[in-house]
């Protein structure tokens, strides 16, 4: 018989590593775990790559000839819209993946282990964030191959990349929160189709907002994704819409939207996760 029959329980292991260091290490281990799935389940990336590519081909070569935007070639008008749409669809991607991951048995194993529960959700966000970055990179490269010419100066390029990272971080948190709330990947697809899909279309993505009917125009003028699309368009083409404060100042509006989303979604996601855990 081993020490297990001793009269006192094994002392609870308090690791020599301090709590914040453990949190960082556990998050890193769990993030690497989810990234390892990408080459093994490459179809996970299809969501964030195939869909934008289909839209590019459709609008560039099918509908595009019927759309005339004054002062800019349709190709250069379209790609910022596609980037905005890809980021928005990232919410659905992160949500579907999260609602799926949370039903995996391995999450139960992590929950019943002596590791920080915050690290489990941080790793989920980090993993999804990396998938979004990878997906967007593929879309951008595809656009450049097709002849998209972003007229970027170095400071604008830095600003654009920084704002895109902020946007992806905010949208990933939102997707992870929704993924935990909706309970099933199918339901998440449904929410995405009903809410995010229309907002992504209304955002001046494919056609100018100014030409829309009164009701969609009013929505589009305050659609957060409009600020996102406007940001990309402003930085790459120097092209600005008018009609609402956020369309005139898309960069500032987008940064504010992202900060608001993060400020709302992070605490809610953490609360939801802890409640899920405690039952």
């Amino acid at each position: 018989m081993s020490a297990i029959t001793a009269s006192a329980p094994a002392p609870v292991r308090v690791s020599g590593v301090a709590a914040p260091a453990r949190f960082v290490r556990d998050t890193a281990l769990l993030t690497v775990r989810s990234l390892r799935a990408i080459p093994r389940v490459p179809e996970r990336l299809l969501d964030v790559t195939i869909q934008p590519i289909v839209f590019i081909l459709l609008f560039l070569y099918v509908f595009g000839s019927a759309i005339h935007v004054p002062g800019v070639s349709y190709k250069d008008y379209l790609f910022p819209g596609i980037i905005g749409q890809s980021l928005a669809f990232g919410i659905i991607g992160a949500g579907v993946a999260t609602s799926h991951d949370m039903t995996e048995g391995v999450i139960d194993r992590f929950r019943s282990m002596p590791i920080s529960r915050l690290s489990i959700i941080s790793a989920q966000v980090m993993g999804q964030f990396c998938e979004q970055v990878l997906g967007l990179t593929i879309v951008v490269v595809f656009g450049l191959i097709l002849g998209w010419d972003p007229h970027l100066t170095a400071p604008h390029a830095i600003e654009l990349v920084a704002l895109m990272f902020l946007g992806m971080l905010a949208f990933t948190w939102m997707g992870v929160l929704l993924g935990m709330l909706v309970r099933s990947p199918d339901a998440m697809q449904g929410v995405g189709f009903i809410v995010i899909f229309p907002l992504a279309f209304l955002a001046g993505t494919f056609v100018p907002i100014a030409g829309m009917d009164a009701v969609p125009r009013a929505i589009a003028q305050w659609d957060p994704i409009s600020a996102l699309v406007g940001t990309v368009r402003g930085l790459t083409e120097g092209f600005h819409s008018t009609g609402s404060w956020q369309l005139v100042h898309p960069e500032l509006a987008m940064a504010l939207w992202c900060l608001v989303i993060i400020a709302v979604c992070v605490p809610l996601a953490l609360r939801r996760f802890n409640r899920t855990l405690a039952g």
Binding site: M1, I4, S7, R36, R40, V106, S112, P114, I115, G279
Partner: protein
């Protein structure tokens, strides 16, 4: 000095809406013993172990693991308990060996140390042959072995196995049993849930029979078996007419129970092979058409019938992963 009880629950209760999954359960597992929680699907077994593993919060009553309260001292409990569920708690997109290394690292081992621990577990659980295969490509039995190994990175103070052999073929079940036996030989304190009387008998020191979240009987396997009775001879008739004939033929001569829908007459067989021969002789002389005559061990159903006077309640809502935060899944 008093030995600290490995698991002790008092009045443990969990409800899901209207449905009471666990009702006022008092459970005690002494350190160094093996206790089996035996019951049908939906009896509250999984809900109970999930509360013990701090995955669900009890609605009433208390539960302590090695003296620590599962709600107020959850962190301590998590360091002492290892749960292996009926759903493999592994990352399907990692290999067997990568899973073990990951779990070891999450338990605070360094890179090299984690590899050593994983290698040791791979050898002990005979995982070597498929160590580099993705978990999603493993068979049920192989997966269960990796799962067991993953729960034993640090020798836990209490090991909880939730239906370790449900859904496995008989050969894999034997392998898992021998693995569990070797753990028991090492002195691990074990709480084991199962639907199989045979499994509880083979592995446990003490069996607690539960039904609809309540304890209905408890004792050593020997005590329960004495109450349940020995083996039985089942005669399965060829059709409904033959069933009526067999039924008439055997009733009176032996102590029987019948199931018309399964065309089965079941005869108590305290003398085992002799009873089998006697029943077969009667059936053969009368020339009744039967599909099968077989000696079998008493099942959970027999135990329930003998100990509670009614058959086990199969709740259609399998409790498998029944918690309010997750979609309900049905055991594969």
């Amino acid at each position: 000095m008093s030995q600290i009880t490995a698991i002790e629950t008092q009045g443990l209760t969990k409800r899901f809406g209207e449905f009471t999954a666990v009702a006022d359960l008092d459970l005690r597992v002494d350190t160094g013993t093996v206790v089996s929680l035996l019951g049908p699907n939906g009896a509250g077994k999984t809900t109970t172990v999930r509360m013990l593993a701090t995955l669900l919060r009890p609605d009433a009553g208390s539960a302590r693991v090695a003296g620590y309260d599962v709600v107020r001292e959850a962190a301590q409990v998590r360091a002492l308990i290892a749960l292996t569920g009926q759903f493999a708690a592994l990352d399907k997109n990692l290999t067997a060996s990568e899973n073990l290394v990951l779990m070891a690292r999450l338990r605070g081992r360094g890179r090299r140390d984690a590899a050593i621990v994983a290698d040791r577990l791979i050898e002990r659980f005979a995982i070597d042959e498929f160590r580099n295969r993705l978990v999603k490509k493993l068979s049920g039995g192989e997966r269960r072995r990796v799962d067991l190994a993953a729960g034993l990175i640090d020798t836990p103070h209490v090991l909880v196995l939730d239906e370790p052999t449900t859904g496995l073929d008989p050969r894999s079940r034997q392998v898992v049993w021998s693995t569990i036996r070797s753990l028991v030989d090492d002195g691990v304190t074990l709480l084991l849930t199962t639907q199989y009387l045979e499994e509880a008998d083979a592995l446990a020191d003490r069996v607690v029979l539960i039904d609809r979240g309540r304890e209905v009987a408890a004792g050593t396997p020997a005590q329960l078996k004495t109450q349940v009775g020995a083996q039985r001879v089942d005669v399965i008739a060829a059709d409904a007419t033959e069933f009526a004939r067999v039924s008439e033929l055997l009733d009176g001569r032996f102590e029987v129970s019948r199931s018309a829908e399964q065309r089965t007459v079941s005869v108590a067989a305290p003398d085992e092979a002799e009873d089998l021969a006697a029943v077969a002789a009667v059936v053969a002389r009368a020339g009744v058409q039967v599909d099968e005559i077989a000696l079998r061990r008493p099942t959970l159903d027999d135990a329930f019938l003998a100990l509670t006077g009614h058959v086990a309640h199969e709740d259609p809502r399998t409790e498998s992963r029944f918690d309010e935060s997750q979609p309900t899944e049905v055991a594969a």
